[in-house]
Amino acid sequence: MNIPLHMYLPIAGNSVNIAAILGLGGAVGLLSGIFGVGGGFLMTPLLIMLGIPPTVAAASDSNQIVGASTSGTLAHFRLGNVDFKMGLLLLVGGVAGGSVGVRIIKLLRAMGNADFLINVTYVLMLGLVGGYMFFESLQALRAPRAGAASKPAPTGESLYERCIRSMPWQTDFPRSGVRLSLLMPLGLGALVGVLAAIMGVGGGFIMVPVMVYLLRMPMHVVVGTSLFQILFTCVNVTVMQSVENHTVDFILALLLLIGSSVGAQVGTRIGKKLQGDQLKILLATLVLAVMGKMLFDLLARPDVLLAYAGGH
């Protein structure tokens, strides 16, 4: 049998090496299974490097994430790591926040200099989130392991906790083992939705720290719940892109998702073997690396001073 090494992608308008796309999907799926992020911030630039137009790369990636997050959610669900109640509330908030974010970005574009704000927000967010997670988990890892139950008590926590407790509509989230106001996941979901829409990303890397530090959910439940939520976000994006922009390349997405759904399963297994703090510090390193790359792109003179419109 003659197995073709290359395949022509009708929407992207280019042919790609099948093995490269499968490998790329597998690697990003692995990260997605371990950390509960969609991986769009890695996938899209790599696809562009392989000769896929930016708009097609972003849209096909969200189609691909649908498959990877289905696979990942299923794996985490079996491990008891998906808090459906929390996930749905975050999702409702996220959808509302997303539509507000789209309005904001239109407004910013009309005012000009939107790209500057987006880039600076992006780098600052990545730096803050990555840096905080890195040092927090480093401390936790270094601290003598007196007992699993011992909790660090950073200053200011009491104020934050008093605020949370004074909010109305307190409910139990048994899966995550926390008691919070319904407004918390709704509001934070909306906040992440706004930021994700402005930055043009899925928001997994902001959502994960928000769930860990502000909703106080255990890391493993965070990963499963984040994947569950990303699944819905990406279904929405895929259908919207197909209808409005015709930029979803199904062949590309299918190749990617074969790789990534396998990767997500393997990633879940790897994640199970790691401690919460180890997971956090690895994700923090990844986020800081992405920030470093973005900062470099902003500071170094590009090869070509023109770029095709579209993409991030």
Binding site: V66, L74, N113, F116
Partner: protein
């Protein structure tokens, strides 16, 4: 997507035949040209192709072969320095008359045969930039030159020497590599014969690139039935994700 009516192909073919007949005698300054394959067929396994063409040109002339796509408008983001520090998109430039593809090869370097006007210099000179839309600091950027560099990066613009053999009696054969990054549409192959810095003959043949098989069907679905396509794409993704998940469950079960 533009579809050419079958009648146009027939007209085109007839025209080619007439041209061939009219220029069979190469000595009167014309150029005869035949291109193989006549159409670029883009199927699932398409990874670019090579066009072969042959013909006759006036004795002792150098040959320039050119493959061009339709010219159109193009909007590009222009990068610049914000606050003298950060490189980012600073504005959009709107360009007109930008060829989608421009590949040129010649039997001798274009500069030596006085044919620079047929190469990428022609693109740089021919591209029109819309005024007033440029951002601050745009006056220092040579937009057409940057456009050519961008397209060269993608393999869509190319200027080179070679791939052409010319015999003493003026017969030539040439081959031109067509990149994998091709969209369906009508393209043009031009052949110019140059002698003493002058174009002494030229001819052109249209070449169609069309999608066939699965790519054609998918493109039709994506562009004409967007909603159905999007819903199907998500459903297949979910099913594939579930299937992989279930396979792993049965493998992992003890």
């Amino acid at each position: 997507m533009r579809r050419t009516h079958p009648l146009h192909i027939i007209t085109g073919l007839l025209l080619c035949l007439c041209l061939l007949a009219a220029t069979a005698r190469a000595d009167d300054g014309g150029v005869a040209l035949a291109v193989k394959p006549g159409d670029i067929v883009i199927g699932t396994s398409y990874t670019g192709t090579t066009l072969h063409f042959s013909g006759e040109a006036p004795r002792g002339s150098a040959i320039v072969a050119r493959f061009t796509g339709a010219s159109g408008d193009l909007a590009l983001r222009q990068k610049g320095k914000a606050f003298g520090l950060l490189w980012m998109n600073m504005g959009t430039v709107h360009l007109h008359d930008v060829p989608s593809v421009y590949l040129v090869t010649s039997s001798r370097p274009l500069a030596d045969i006085g044919g620079t006007g047929l190469g990428l210099d022609a693109v740089r000179a021919g591209v029109k930039q819309e005024d007033g839309a440029a951002a601050q600091g745009a006056d220092v950027l040579d937009v057409p030159a940057e456009l050519v560099r961008l397209k060269q990066h993608d393999g869509l613009y190319r200027e080179g020497v070679g791939g052409i053999t010319v015999t003493d009696d003026g017969a030539f054969s040439a081959e031109l590599d067509i990149p994998s990054r091709m969209s369906p549409g009508t393209y043009t192959v031009d052949v110019f014969a140059l002698r003493d810095g002058q174009v002494v003959g030229s001819t052109s043949v249209p070449v169609r690139a069309e999608l066939v098989g699965t790519p054609a069907w998918l493109a039709h679905m994506a562009f004409d039935r967007g909603l159905l396509y999007g819903v199907l794409a998500t459903l297949v993704a979910i099913l594939a994700g579930l299937a992989v998940g279930l396979v792993f469950q049965s493998k992992g079960a003890h």
